[in-house]
């Protein structure tokens, strides 16, 4: 029994923190926010050099074979810095290939993903709010050798930056997955304007896109349960980012409360402020515990859904509160564009209903117990 970071993880965390502090301070984040580019290529090549995209790729395919919990260590730091990057989205896509792909597909894609030469993303969900297989309507029609994909995907994270899309499609009454190059004929990527400008997402339309049968990942019509597991692993990473963001919001507000004076005292002396900050800390430590455990669970438990749902639900609460109170504690300053407090709030609004609202995950927690 050991529920803490290993020395290696502490080291990784410190390395990532140092990098983010020096290479991606809030000024840089704000540049990316203002930019029209799909992503910050300079930042991407630097992290590729550091080998981050290789971390969770299996060793046999050019990666470092680290576990999902290691990625969560990083994700939390990235959330703290509101790191604007397709990095995590691509890592989740790589997990899908590693889990579901044939040897040939792994050899083809994983080394490219590990080196950072390729960015991938999952293109699973569509216009409806249905997070189950029933929500997938994009159609795959196959003549044996070729497959024609028609339909559209919504809220695809960092699709703008991706060279490879992993597209879920309805086939043989079930769900199949296809590796689709983003530049394939018939693929249109339309960027969305998000409340959180440090993030990117897009609508992706596939108008009779033709792929090879060999681009099908996993069995035809039979990948949903694997895919759902990958989505859950992605949800844990998202929750970890949220915990990091909430913690950054808390620290920012607490530091402000120490220096900002009113009626002759720092506002952090008044229980009206300190107790709210304490409540946020409780939420953060609680959701942090749940997120760390969920990251372990996706690698070690047969059915980690309960753990994932608890992590996402509580992380939402933590960031909701930290984001909102962070603004309020700053007073009018918190409402200005220059103040970073509002950026965490926006992150919270973006993430709350992404990958399932807290209410959805509460329901799921009971239903996976058969209740």
């Amino acid at each position: 029994m050991d529920f803490g970071f290993s020395a290696d993880q502490e080291q990784l965390k410190a390395q990532v923190r140092r990098f983010l502090d020096s290479e991606c301070p809030m000024d840089r984040v704000r540049q990316v926010m203002a930019a029209k580019e799909s992503h910050d290529r300079g930042l991407w090549s630097k992290i590729a050099e550091l080998g981050w995209p290789a971390l969770t790729v299996p060793e046999s395919f050019g990666g470092l074979g680290m576990r999902w919990e290691d990625l969560v260590v990083i994700a939390e730091e990235m959330g703290r810095s509101l790191f604007p990057s397709p990095f995590l989205a691509s890592a989740v896509a790589a997990r899908a290939i590693a889990l579901m792909g044939s040897e040939g597909q792994k050899s083809r894609w994983l080394p490219l993903l590990a080196s950072g030469d390729l960015i991938a993303t999952l293109a699973i969900l569509e216009d409806s709010d249905d997070l189950s297989a029933a929500g997938i309507g994009l159609v795959a029609e196959s003549d044996g050798e070729h497959v024609v994909l028609s339909g559209s995907k919504m809220f695809i994270p960092h699709a703008q930056a991706a060279g490879l899309l992993l597209v879920a499609a309805r086939e043989h009454g079930g769900i199949s997955l296809f590796a689709v190059p983003a530049d394939a004929a018939g693929v249109t990527v339309t960027p969305l304007r998000l409340i959180d400008q440090s993030q990117r997402a897009a609508r992706v339309t596939l108008a009779a896109v033709v792929v090879e049968s060999s681009d099908r990942i996993g069995e035809p019509g039979a990948v949903w349960s694997d895919l759902a597991a990958v989505l859950d692993a992605g949800t844990v990473v998202l929750a970890a980012e949220m915990v990091g963001a909430a913690d950054a919001a808390l620290r920012l507000a607490a530091e402000y409360a120490k220096v900002r004076k009113q009626f002759g005292h720092p506002i952090g002396r008044f229980q009206g402020v300190k107790h709210r900050l304490a409540e946020i800390l409780v939420d953060i430590e609680s959701s942090r515990s749940l997120v760390y455990f969920a990251s372990w669970a996706v690698d070690h438990q047969e059915d980690p859904r309960g753990a994932v749902s608890m992590a996402k639900a509580y992380a939402s609460q933590a960031l909701d509160r930290a984001g909102e109170e962070g603004i309020q504690i700053h007073g009018a300053i918190g409402f200005t564009w220059e103040c970073d407090a509002q950026l965490y709030y926006k992150r919270g609004r973006y993430c709350r209903n992404l990958a399932g609202s807290p209410e959805y995950h509460h329901e799921r927690l009971l239903s996976v117990q058969g209740i």
Binding site: S128, D129, D130, M154, F155, T190, L192, R193, L194, I195, D196, R203, R260, K261, Q262, F263, G264, H265, F270, G272, V273, E324, I327, Q328, G331, A332, G334, F335, T336, W337, E338, C339, Q342, Y345, K346, R349, Y350, R352, N353, L354, S357, E359, Y360, E363
Partner: protein, 402 residues
Amino acid sequence: MDFSFSEREEAFRREVREFLDVSNPHRVVAAGKDAQSDDDVESAMDRLPKLLAWNQALVEKGWVGFHWPKEVGGGGGGLIEQMILKQESGKARAPMLGLSYMGLAWVGPGIIKYGTEEQKRRFIPAILEARDHWCTGYSEPGSGSDLASLRCSAVRDGDHYVISGQKTWTSLAMWSQWMILLVRTDPGAAKHLGITCLLVPMDAAGVEVRPIKAMNGETPFAEVFFNDVRVPVENRLGAEGQGWDVTKHALANERSSIAEVTAMVNHLEDLKRLAKRCRSNGRVAIQDPLVRQRLARMETMIEAMRLTGLRFLTKQLRGHEVGAETSVNKLLRAELEVEIGRLALDIEGRYGSLVKGSPGAIDNGKWQRQALTWPSYVIGGGTPNIQKNVIAERLLGLPHDA
């Protein structure tokens, strides 16, 4: 208790409705689908000609400065009629009852009570007719909720004051011709006593306005710098050292919260309509029991605000002052402003993250704007913490905390 209105009041209501049917520039929107909110400053500028016509029509009715004395050009109206006017124009989603917003809310009442005849002649008609727009020079960096700690100073130099210092969070500074400014003229006097009120033309030499961008991307307020700005002594409102009183004072306005309430009732209507269009937790949102609880709770809070406001109004009609108890409605409003945006985004689900101009954005990002604008309502008029202190200290008699 009596919730009916007199024949005269009902006749006035009919008059207001008939006027709005003709003159309300938003009437098409109000009748049709969800209204865009009307306080988006930039788009308000686009709509300026229409709005000026609206102001002019109101002036002709005597409905700008409705409760101001007739001698200065106001409507001389009563409290109940004023409430009816606000209620009906709110329901009709009409623009503000007068365009010179700060002038009507903050400046006019002060000038009417403390101004010279010359000041009344010069400023009141221009406010009513929306020729002058005003901003308020109250907050300073570091003063926050502790307004009386202000440091911006004015020194008398012959028949002029020379102003140096800075104000901040000045709403509408960029579009204003005038500022009502609080300055410290006696650094030696007690905090509240050394303050004087000056009326400053924004085009005076040495006034510099730097817009502040808000988290919603708009620039609703500004920093204003004063570098040895000279204003003549006759621009002083009230006596030297009387600034605090001048500012605290506003002509007995009706305290029914009705403007805020009708705005919130409109939001609630729109939210219900939104919930009928969106899906949430696997069903139409309006059928989701969790959404329903939140909608009902919101409606209950809004109705409580409305009724508590009527209790305040009744108190006024009976000749009593209404003071600290208005914090009750301010706190409800603060909670509602946050919850309205939050619930809307939750109803929209993933689409809740799409802002104006995005493919897939619902109602062109109207609710996202609400979710990014609430702090200006919640923090602007005194933070919830301050309101709670007011209630605890003045209504419950608990000790001061500092």
